[in-house]
Amino acid sequence: MATLLFADHDNASLSEHSARALGAALQIGAEVDILIAGQGAAPAAEAAAALVGVRRVLLAEGDALAERLAEPVAALIVQLSGDYDTILAPATSSGKNVLPRVAALLDVMQVSEVTEVVSPDTFKRPIYAGNAIEVVQSAEAVRVLTVRSASFTPAAAGSAVAPIIAIKPPVAPVLSSFRQNLLSANDRPDLSSARIVVSGGRALGSKERFEATINPLADKLGAAVGASRAAVDAGYAANDFQVGQTGKVVAPDLYIACGISGAIQHLAGMKDSRVIVAINTDGEAPIFQVADYGIVGDIFDIVPQMERAL
């Protein structure tokens, strides 16, 4: 049998998460098809077809699929499910929205946020905010998985091109409808896949000070900007900047935590970074327990100094 990967994309381009999920899918061993559900999504399908290891790309288009709302996309995946024994998606907001719905319609339990493929039916996944790792085996007829992108290397784009096959989505009752996206304008690297992340916490004190302190350093380093929940709740940074158990999970080469205490929920989202730097006035802050390099000091002093010295 084969594996179906429900790709993350915005019609115009394929997200890096899809290539990483393909990395996970290939470890399972079976042949992999990629499903692109959308509208005007040929560019995303072409990008998927160029990834090494893809057998074929299924392109399903329609107005109802344009924004990948959960109900029609789940119905589409269920219609395709007979040909696959594994269905997976990256654990992005789209994958997390759709796949449990598919699992329930197929009457199987999903394995969420897989960080390691142990064998085709056995997976590791973090529980309790990453304070424990569960090794779980699925004997379900169809294995439904979401995979944590930060844990897998992306499949590369190659010279061969997999065939793109147009498929007709099923007619499903319209239960919800798209109104609008209010996306954060951001010309920095994507937080989830950036090589360097500079994150700010509650200590930043205001949106203005957050931007005036964090952004120049991030720009100097070509880094993405992240934030703690406290900083997002207080309105210093947009919701999609949140790193943590319930935000984004990142594993960059370098993570710089500025005025972040290091609560377990924050650590859950960044403790697999290769190198961690912490800047905090409190030498006892828990963030120092995971930091490779710590500076006890005031961010409003240290961060601009770093920016100038680079």
Partner: protein, 249 residues
């Protein structure tokens, strides 16, 4: 419109849990237990909707051991009207919880179910989506705002790139994200009043749902520990380490 809110009893979010040395699970003996934080947000939302005249009744449901009554009482003290405890010991997976909630929602003729986005113990983030699928209802996950208008609800969702607004036909399942609201603390008089509010018990059997786990947990491991780091005395030293030792800039 009746709103159903599922609440899970989980280890308190401030507790640092320990993996059992024999790898069979997590040691929760004597650990403080609380309502899942996202479920507090869901209860708060439902209670506010009742206060605003958008909901007629708020019913809270938990699937768990007898002690889950405590989180149901907390929800009643926050302003929910009635509670249902579906008594089940041990690990109950999201799919089984969703099937139980499906039966309860049908019996109660609920118009909306507000679920937490994620339980902070299993970190599954599945139950609401599964429940919505089983009921054949509309779904909005990761909600940071719910606005009612007649027979529909306009929901703002937190997505990877920012926010998304979708309109749901009722009945609907909505999952609550962190910024939907800030839950209230129950006042002492309300805690007293909650003791008299109705709490009924049922069993999965009575609802014809099997709670036998589908997934086989082979073992639970300690996460890889990080090597301990150092404190540096100056920005110059830090940048030097990052360039030469770590080679990341």
């Amino acid at each position: 419109m009746k709103i159903l809110v599922p609440v899970k009893r989980v280890v308190d979010h401030n507790v640092k849990i320990r993996v059992k040395t024999d790898g069979t699970g997590v040691d929760l003996a004597n650990a403080k237990m609380s309502m899942n934080p996202f479920d507090e947000i869901a209860v708060e939302q439902a209670v506010r909707m009742k206060e605003d005249g958008e909901a007629s009744e708020v019913v809270v449901v938990s699937v768990g051991p007898a002690q889950a009554q405590e989180v149901l009482r907390t929800a009643l003290a926050m302003g929910a009207d009635r509670a249902i405890l579906v008594v089940a010991e041990g690990r109950v997976e999201p799919l089984a919880v969703a099937k139980i909630l499906q039966r309860v929602a049908q019996a109660e003729e609920a118009g909306m179910i507000i679920v937490g986005k994620q339980a902070i113990d299993d970190d599954c983030n599945q139950t609401g989506q599964m429940l919505s699928a089983l009921l054949g209802w509309s779904q909005a996950t990761f909600a940071s705002k719910i606005e009612m208008s007649g027979g529909s609800a306009l929901v703002t969702r937190e997505i990877d790139g920012g926010l998304q607004q979708i309109e749901l036909t009722l009945p609907a399942v909505v999952t609550a994200d962190l910024r939907l609201n800030e839950p209230r603390y129950a006042s002492l008089p309300n805690i007293m009043k909650a003791k008299k509010k109705p709490l009924v018990q049922q069993t999965p059997n009575e609802l014809s749902v099997s709670v036998a786990p589908r997934l086989n947990v082979l073992r639970v491991e300690e996460p890889a520990a990080r090597a301990s780091g150092i404190k540096v005395g100056s920005v110059a030293e830090l940048l030097d380490k990052l360039k030469t030792e770590a080679a990341v800039i």
